[in-house]
Symmetry: C2
Subunit: 343 residues, 2 copies
C-alpha cells in the first residue's frame, strides 16, 4: 500500500530468516481484513510503500535453528500477532500483550504475499494435523484461514464476556467479526442472540449461524428494540464488533445491569462514558481487546476439522494475488463481506 | 444537613409505615459514611434540610401487612439500598439495580436517627440470629454495622474482580472501604496485596488485615513501585476505592494485561480512558458499581458471628446522636477513619 486507496501488487525480494526463532512460510491462502480498510481510507502517501496483510495459512518452507516445533512441509495456521507463548502473560492466555508481541500490520507483516517471515515461530504458529492443503476441500481451507483472525476475534469477544448457557447476547455489527461472534456465542450456549445489523445478506448468515433476532435499527430505536426483546432488562453480554463511539453507546444502552460489554472492534476513541450514568450505576462491566488467537487456536482447529464450526462462510469472494487491489475495493464498497486470496 | 458543612441534630416526627411492604426499625447503631462527606463539602443551602445516613443495625418495631419475614423484636442489618430481592436483576445478585431500588441518601434515608422507615423490608433487611443487641459485645455490633455498607462494598470490589487464590491484588485508597477491600481480598485467597495509601494509622490496619505491601507514592511513582513489586507485569486485580480520576489512572497503570479494575469508589467523572492506550490494548477489564450488599449479607453475617472476619475495626470513634456534627468534622479532617453512632 502506497497510500489511501493505492494498493499495488509488486515483486519484492523474498523474506529470509532474520532471527533463530523465525520461520519462512509459503502462503496457501491469505485474505483482506476489515481493519485493512482503515489505512486504505487514511494512510498518508508513502513512497516506499508498506507490505500488507496479517492472516494466512501456509506451508513451512524453512525454520531458524531455535525453532523446534516445526519442520519444512508442515501445514500451519498463523495468527495475526506473533508472541513467544512462554512468558507469564502468554501463559495467562493474553498473547497479544506478550512483551515480544509483533502485530502484523502495514509494514510489519506482509501476509498478502506468496511467502512470509514469521517471528517467534514456535510460539506463534499451530500445525494442522492430517491435512494436505494441495488436495483439501476449499471450504476447509476457508475455515482454517478464518482462524488466523476473524473467527477467533469473534470468539474472543464471546469468551471474555464469559457467556454461560441460556444467556441473552446482543452482537453489535454484522461484519465478518460480528457474524463470527454470533457463531462463537452459539458455541458457548447463548439462549438468545440478537444481531444488530442492516445488511440482509450478512444478517442472513448470522441467522444461519444461530442469531435468534435481527435488529436493523440503530441508536435509541435500536436500544428500545433490544430492551423490548429482553423483557426490558437488556442482554447479559454485548459483543461489540465495530469500534466506533455510536456502537459503544449502543452497547451501554442494551447491556443488562450486572452484564458485560465485550469489545473486539478496535476503538476509534480513547475516552468513553464509564461513570454512574453509563457503566457504574448498573454494575455493567467492560472487557475485550486484541484477540489472543494463539490461546484458542488448537481447540478451534479441532472444531473445524471435526465439522463443529464452519467459520469460513464469511469468505464470499476468492481472488488471485493479481486482483488484490480489486479485492480491497470490493470490501470497501461492501460488495464483498470478506475476500480470500488463493495462491 | 442544611447545606455544606451545616449538620444539625433535630427532633422531627417519627417515620410511619407508608407502604404495606415497609418496616419501622429502631436504630441500635448507625454511622457516618465517607460518601456523606460529598454533600458535606458541596450541598447547596436547603432551608428544609435533608435527613442523612444510610447504614444501620436495629430492632424491628413495626411491619406493614405484606411483610412476612420479620416481626417486632427482630435484630436486623439494613443495607444502604432497599430492593425487592425478587425481580430478575435481584436474582442475578445486583440488588442496587433493582427496578424498585431505593438508595438511602440525603432526604431519602435518614438512618442517622433513632428510628427509620425501611421500604421493601422483606427484600432488604437480614435478621441476625441469636444476638441480643442490648447485651452484645461492642466489637460484634461494630462488625455487624460494617456489613450495612463499608465492608460489603469492599467485598463487592473483590468479588467483581473475581479474585482467585494466589493472585496479585492492588487496593487503591486507604479509607474504610479500601481497608475493607484488603480484608475481602484476603478472604478470597489473594497471594499478594499491595495497599496504596499514605496514612500510617490506616495502612497499619491494612497490614493487620493482610496487606503484604504498602505503597505510599502516587501517580507515576506509585505505578512504578507496584510494577516493581509484580515482576513488571502489574496486578491481576485492582480494587479502586477512591472514585477520582487520578485513582482511575493509577488503576490503569498497575493492572496486568488481561487483569481487571474493579471500582467501588463512586466515580467523580463520567468519561475516562478505555481505548487502545489504556484498557483495550492490554485486554484489561473494568467492573464495579454500587455494592449489592443484600446479595452478600447472609454469608457475611455468618462470617462475623463465627469470628472469621472483624470488619468493625474501621470504626475508631463512637459518639452519641448529639455529637453527629462533630463526627462529620472528625471524618472530614481525617481525625477519625469512620465514626459510629450509639443510640
Amino acid at each position: 500500500m502506497y497510500g489511501a486507496g493505492d494498493v499495488r501488487v509488486e515483486t519484492v525480494p523474498e523474506p529470509t530468516l532474520q532471527a533463530p526463532t523465525d520461520a519462512i512460510v509459503r502462503t496457501v491462502r491469505a485474505c483482506i481484513c476489515g481493519s485493512d480498510l482503515h489505512p486504505y481510507h487514511s494512510m498518508p502517501e508513502l513512497p516506499q510503500g508498506a507490505t500488507m496483510g496479517h492472516e494466512l495459512i501456509g506451508v513451512v518452507e524453512e525454520v531458524g535453528p531455535q525453532v523446534t516445533n516445526f519442520q519444512p512441509g508442515d501445514f500451519v495456521v498463523v495468527p495475526f500477532a506473533a508472541a513467544d507463548n512462554t512468558c507469564p502473560i502468554c501463559q495467562d492466555g493474553f498473547q497479544t500483550a506478550c512483551p515480544h508481541v509483533n502485530f502484523f500490520g502495514p509494514g510489519t507483516g506482509g501476509q498478502q504475499a506468496e511467502i512470509a517471515r514469521i517471528p517467534w515461530a514456535d510460539g506463534t504458529m499451530v500445525k494442522v494435523p492430517g491435512v494436505d492443503p494441495a488436495t483439501a476441500d476449499e471450504s476447509l481451507l476457508k475455515s482454517l484461514l478464518a482462524l488466523s483472525d476473524v473467527y477467533l476475534t469473534g470468539h474472543h469477544a464471546a469468551h471474555m464476556a464469559g457467556i454461560t448457557p441460556g444467556q441473552s447476547v446482543t452482537v453489535i455489527g454484522d461484519g465478518a467479526v460480528g457474524l463470527s461472534a454470533v457463531l462463537a456465542a452459539v458455541r458457548l450456549g447463548a439462549g438468545q442472540i440478537i444481531l444488530m445489523g442492516r445488511h440482509k445478506t450478512r444478517t442472513d448468515l448470522g441467522r444461519e449461524w444461530g442469531a435468534t433476532h435481527v435488529v436493523e435499527e440503530r441508536g435509541a430505536d435500536g436500544i428500545a428494540k433490544v430492551l423490548e426483546l429482553t423483557g426490558g432488562f437488556g442482554s447479559h453480554a454485548v459483543l461489540e464488533a465495530v469500534g466506533h463511539m455510536p456502537a459503544y453507546e449502543q452497547a451501554v444502552g442494551v447491556v443488562r445491569p450486572g452484564g458485560i460489554i465485550s469489545r473486539v472492534g478496535v476503538p476509534q476513541y480513547e475516552e468513553a462514558p464509564v461513570g454512574f450514568g453509563s457503566l457504574f450505576g448498573k454494575n455493567a462491566r467492560l472487557a475485550g481487546g486484541p484477540a489472543p488467537v494463539r490461546a484458542y487456536l488448537e481447540d478451534a482447529i479441532k472444531d473445524v476439522l471435526d465439522g463443529t464450526i464452519d467459520p469460513g462462510k464469511v469468505f464470499d469472494r476468492t481472488i488471485g494475488i493479481e486482483d488484490v487491489p480489486a479485492g480491497y475495493r470490493a470490501m470497501d464498497t461492501r460488495e464483498a463481506l470478506k475476500v480470500m486470496i488463493r495462491f
